[in-house]
């Protein structure tokens, strides 16, 4: 089995790629994709710790299942908001979406 440090480095890199995507992309759908990458990195880490550090315990997998559930709900709501904003503003550029800016 792979040492847990290597898995943590892998998921850390995946998470940071997601952070970069959130900050660098302008298209709101692409920002949501980057958020999916970050959520996946976290879920892999939960499973890795559950399997390698606490073998036989189920909590890591259960948490990962909850992460997948929340990710699906978040993506559905996010895309609905993106479609709505596109109808109101004719743009899904996150720089243009300043409706709630004070």
């Amino acid at each position: 089995m792979v040492p847990i440090e290597h898995i943590m480095v892998f998921t850390g890199a995946l998470f940071c790629i997601g952070v970069y995507g959130v900050m660098a992309r302008r298209n709101a759908v692409l920002v949501l994709m980057a958020i999916e990458l970050m959520l996946n990195a976290v879920a892999i880490n939960l499973v890795a710790f559950g399997t390698l550090v606490y073998p036989g315990q189920i909590n890591g997998m259960v948490f990962a299942i909850f992460v997948v559930t929340i990710a699906a709900a978040e993506l559905g709501l996010g895309l609905a908001i993106v479609l709505r904003v596109y109808r109101m503003r004719s743009s899904i550029n996150v720089d243009d979406i300043d409706l709630m800016r004070w």
């Binding site: 089995m1 480095v9 900050m23 550090v53 699906a72 993506l75």
Partner: protein, 172 residues
């Protein structure tokens, strides 16, 4: 090196390359396809970590539904005419994510994590028992969250503005 470790490094490398493609591809459709590749590869990582049920869920939920949803959203919205990378956010994002990666690298390599014995395979029966006994309340809350998200997405995405092509109902 064992075969499973070698497989992990290959799968992790493909995932990272695909993820880099997601955040840097010029075409949004390429980005979506690379995201699907990256998510399916994540499913393989779960398989290598002996979480076979989670691998199944990952490929069903992400490889199936999420990718279709993302592709539909991309079809319903126009491609950006301006350059895709934000010039202000680009440098800032690179610096911030690089710094975060260094921090994560240092903190994950600094400590010796207590790896206990051999990894054990968890059967689906055990998982179902845990979900419906120990984790019963969070499980039900998660289902309510999904229902609320479904209804909220329907309410938000439904068009109510006059003059839109899809009329929601006969205007009173």
């Amino acid at each position: 090196m064992e075969l499973s470790a070698l497989a992990f490094y290959v799968v992790a490398g493909v995932t990272l390359v695909a993820a880099l493609g997601v955040v840097s591809a010029r075409s949004v459709v390429y980005a979506a396809l690379l995201l699907i590749l990256s998510l399916v590869m994540t499913g393989l990582v779960y398989l290598l970590l002996l979480a076979d049920y989670l691998a199944l869920i990952q490929i069903l939920v992400y490889g199936g539904t999420v990718s279709i949803l993302l592709l539909f959203a991309l079809m319903l919205t126009p491609p950006e005419t301006r350059p895709e990378l934000n010039h202000r956010g680009w440098a800032l994002g690179a610096v911030a994510s690089g710094a975060l990666f260094v921090l994560l690298l240092v903190s994950s390599l600094a400590d010796k994590w207590p790896v206990a014995g051999a990894a054990r395979h968890i059967s689906l029966v055990d998982l179902g028992r845990a979900l419906f006994s120990t984790w019963a309340v969070p499980f039900e809350v998660a289902s309510v969250v999904l229902l609320v998200a479904l209804l909220g997405a329907l309410t938000i995405a439904r068009s109510t503005t006059p003059g839109s092509k899809i009329a929601p109902r006969a205007s009173a």
